[in-house]
Amino acid sequence: MHTDADAFGFTVSGIFATWYYVGQRVLKVSMAESKFLMTLGKLHFILYVLGVAAAVISLFMGYTTSKEYAEFEWPIDIAIVIVWVMWGISIFGLIGIRREKSLYISVWYYIATFLGVAMLYLFNNMEIPTYFASGGHGDIMHSVSAYAGTNDALVQWWYGHNAVAFVFTVPIIAMIYYFLPKESGQAIYSYKLSLLSFWGLMFVYLWAGGHHLLFSTVPDWIQTMGSVFSIVLILPSWGSAINMLLTLKGEWQQVASSPLIKFLLLASTFYMFSTLEGPVQAVKSVNAIAHFTDWIPGHVHDGTLGWVGFMIIASIFHMAPRIFKRELYSKSLMTAQFWIQTLGIVFYFTSMWIAGITQGMMWRSHDEYGNLAYSFMDTVNVLHPYMILRGVGGTLFLIGVFMWAYNIYKTMSARPIEESELQSATPMGA
């Protein structure tokens, strides 16, 4: 429920919203110019919301394929494919009627998101509905995977890791390549580096999924390949992130003066941090301690809260005043939100680091005869304080989310502004 709500609810709606905003602007074409695309866009929104509702309800009813991030049963998979194809038609339709000859780097990333997820989702969700295969026996919603055993695990983690790639990374880079230059009024430090990083990321990311299956039954060379590609992945990831930090070259006073730039800068920093931490965890000897411990969700959360969360929050802070033609309701509320959430994330990942490594070390400890030194409950007792810190971190982040929602809600009725005030830095009320 939690991962699906974050990936398919929060992040995917952020991807769709920013695509419809960014796509039209950088291609210099309005969807209103095509009745077909406008109708399709509205239908896309309605079906997406219905699809998410169906996914939530079915999971609450206990329908699950039990594959991580791919829990939805076959009728909902079909609905998701339909919604996704509609988005694809919208992307390529808009590109088809564009005025700008070349595609801005963000558009490349959105296209990659569409193609990547389409390929991954289709292959990992190959499943056989048992009701039809058995001639009418059992629950109509139930299905079994087309793959078995180790193959199933391999396909699952090829999908699972690349769901992180094409939902939590690629479209978020699309966002930062638009919103950071636009909000700061600075050209991308090196557009050429952005192109090189794009192709680097596309080539390398798809091979790294094997690191989820280290020390499992998959062939050793696949595990090694997963580790090696994970390390190589630092290069294109840092290529994009450093490009973003250098975009602010000579303009660092903006970080102090604008809370929106703070969000964008920290998003980029968390991306660097997360893409260094992940490869370190994929090294076999580190993974021997880290695997199955709290260090892994700790890593996932500095990526999802710090990078994905901050980036979508910043994108909506940038878009809302331009859509409503009003200034952002409160700069001080936004600044407070930034510090509360940053503190929350720091609490979260630091406690999970300590918890994870402690857990890993305790699991490995044994006496001279090879008997395990600690029981499971021993580890739970030791980890208890870190779980409380984790809870405090999560609560701080959640408080920030409510502050964000309130700020956006109040922006709808804030002071109206002229189009000319919206060129780069977002106008904000006190």
């Binding site: 950088v26 074409v29 000859k101 780097i105 230059p181 050209a187 557009y191 050429k192």
Partner: protein, 67 residues
Amino acid sequence: MDIANIQGYAYVFAMGFLIVVLYAYIYHLYTKRKNADGTDYEEYSNMALHDDLSDTPVADRFDAKKK
């Protein structure tokens, strides 16, 4: 030659090939602007900075067709 040998040669060949492709791409990015009708990729940043419907495109798709 057994399968492990073939894999080894394929690996070395693939590494060499990909390195050539990578450096050729970097070379292409840096040299294309030097030609008379070349592209300075750095100008593409302006697609985001000047993105109003009424702004002039970096390269107009329909103008390009007329040429």
